[in-house]
Symmetry: C2
Subunit: 324 residues, 2 copies
């Protein structure tokens, strides 16, 4: 499907995404757009060094989801995965709290090797995306290290310590992105954003830990806004809860309501239009146009359908902007 | 079995070993000696950095063989190994000429992590040996990097490039050990060698690439000789051929006969007594006492039997030395 049949020169659709939920919509967008029209900006605040390897969980979830290699049950990691490395690590007394599958390890080892050799994360990710024939681009939000930390009732924790090791049990009171002041939008990504962009899509990812780190990269908001493209966000909240992960729990811990309206409030001033799930159709956030749809993405058809809704909403918003 | 029933204080038996062939005799020695009497000095000239990981092939073969984890067919690597990491590396376009099994990877990743954290190879190896309950000690010949290079008809090659990637096909004309001048016998190993040592065993490993790098470490020969213990070597040549690997081929390429007598010549001045296979019983090397035995180690019983022969020969040699 073409985003804009009438347009002679098609611009890019730029999607901002975290891990599992965002990757689902990214897959839908890739499938319904012409090849190579989608550019995804991935959160790297979840990245960390583990066992001497550079791990980029959100980039990997995107790469695996978009290449059809992902495990449909777990949502993260690869399908047909085996865990013999982990079993051997346990035998040797090594750390096993962060599970790395045997096949998945190839990604981390190759990436780490290339980064040590001096390649940028942007270059390594582009190479892998090309190798896996994604038919779209995946960019890290920055090539410099940014690390998300959460302040909790159990102290200040590195993100994966909170997210995986403690399974999001601690109550979060604050979130910070170490290194964010020094972060730089990569040259290739900046080039894409200076080119023709038809729509910007904020995927249904956790605002606090997936989308806000991306937007906190210096110049990122300005570059995105300067495209002039409509910015459409899909709320990750469905009926006051999150589909997966700690989004709703975090809202409550931060003293906020776990509603799509609260998501809209966080995105206000940046996003032009939001898509809420039909179950939240009664909500009417201030100063934010809302379209309701079916946003729970169980099947591939759900993902593609939501992608069409998002792109149509962006087009409508663009047309309206053109008449303003 | 006690090496010396009459002795009130039992000293250590120190074995010099490369990979597969040496590890077989090391296993026999460990089994027939009292717990913790065996100390093995492993060649590290074969070590290399691959995919960002520190690989110590001879140490690993020893650790896996002595812990019962080794693959009985291949001789290297682990039993019940899977190769999904390698398959994924191929998908990603990574290097696959050096095969790393899924379970085996845990060893390399843990070792590399600890070395990067500042641990010595001696410490990392000792920790793993303890973890795997080897009942003996394994020492790298040195903690500093030594890298074997071979000069061949295809140029000067890093050892694993010659050994694995080119499967020993190039003809070798010279061998050198980079970093050997700076190599240092580790403090803990030096301590063992300054303690009570009852016998020194040169395992049936390749003299050029497994034993000579060990002996080329500055002070190593002197420390070994200064123990006063008899030094017994088992020839890796059986009937003018080597059991596994390029030993016999290398002898011929270096313009030498591939005989046990030629091995004896290389060890002359260091080794006190050699064990030849019965098939080489007709050979009578100059200036080297020889005992013949069955040295082909197919079964565990073969390994333990050869270990007994070696230890008895060492004892006899020691008694003789005492009467000299």
């Amino acid at each position: 499907m073409s985003f804009d049949h009438a347009s002679s020169s098609l611009g890019r659709v730029v999607a901002l995404s975290g891990g599992i939920g965002g990757a689902k919509l990214a897959l839908g967008l890739r499938n319904v757009l012409e090849p190579n029209r989608l550019a995804i900006i991935a959160n790297t605040g979840d990245d960390f060094e583990h066992l001497g390897l550079h791990i980029s969980p959100d980039i990997d979830t995107l790469l695996y989801t978009l290449s059809g290699m992902s495990d449909p049950e777990r949502g993260w990691g690869r399908a047909n995965e085996t865990w013999n490395f982990m079993a051997a690590m346990a035998e040797l007394g090594g750390e096993t709290w962060f599970r790395l599958g045997d096949r998945d390890l190839a990604m981390h080892i190759e990436r780490t090797r290339k980064l040590r050799a001096g390649d940028s994360l942007t270059a390594v990710t582009a190479e892998t995306a090309a190798r896996l024939n994604l038919g779209c681009e995946v960019f890290p939000m920055t090539d410099t290290p940014v690390r998300t930390f959460v302040t909790t009732d159990e102290g200040r924790l590195a993100f994966q310590d909170y997210f995986v090791r403690r399974q999001c049990r601690p109550a979060v009171t604050d979130i910070s992105f170490e290194g964010i002041e020094e972060a730089i939008v990569g040259e290739r990504l900046a080039e894409v954003l200076r080119g023709e962009v038809d729509a910007i899509v904020v995927c249904p990812s956790n605002p606090f830990i997936s989308i806000e780190p991306i937007l906190a990269v210096p110049r990122m908001r300005e570059l995105l806004r300067a495209t002039g493209a409509p910015i459409v966000a899909v709320s990750p909240i469905i009926g006051r809860d999150s589909v997966k992960g700690p989004t709703a729990k975090m809202f409550r811990e931060m003293g906020l309501e776990s509603t799509s309206s609260e998501v809209a409030k966080r995105y206000s001033g940046f996003v032009d239009l939001m898509i809420f799930d039909a179950s939240d159709a009664m909500e009417r956030p201030k100063d934010m146009p809302v379209i309701t749809s079916h946003t729970f993405m169980a099947s591939l058809e759900d993902r593609e359908q939501l992608a069409r809704v998002v792109l149509n909403a962006a087009r409508a918003s663009k047309d309206r902007m053109a008449y303003d």
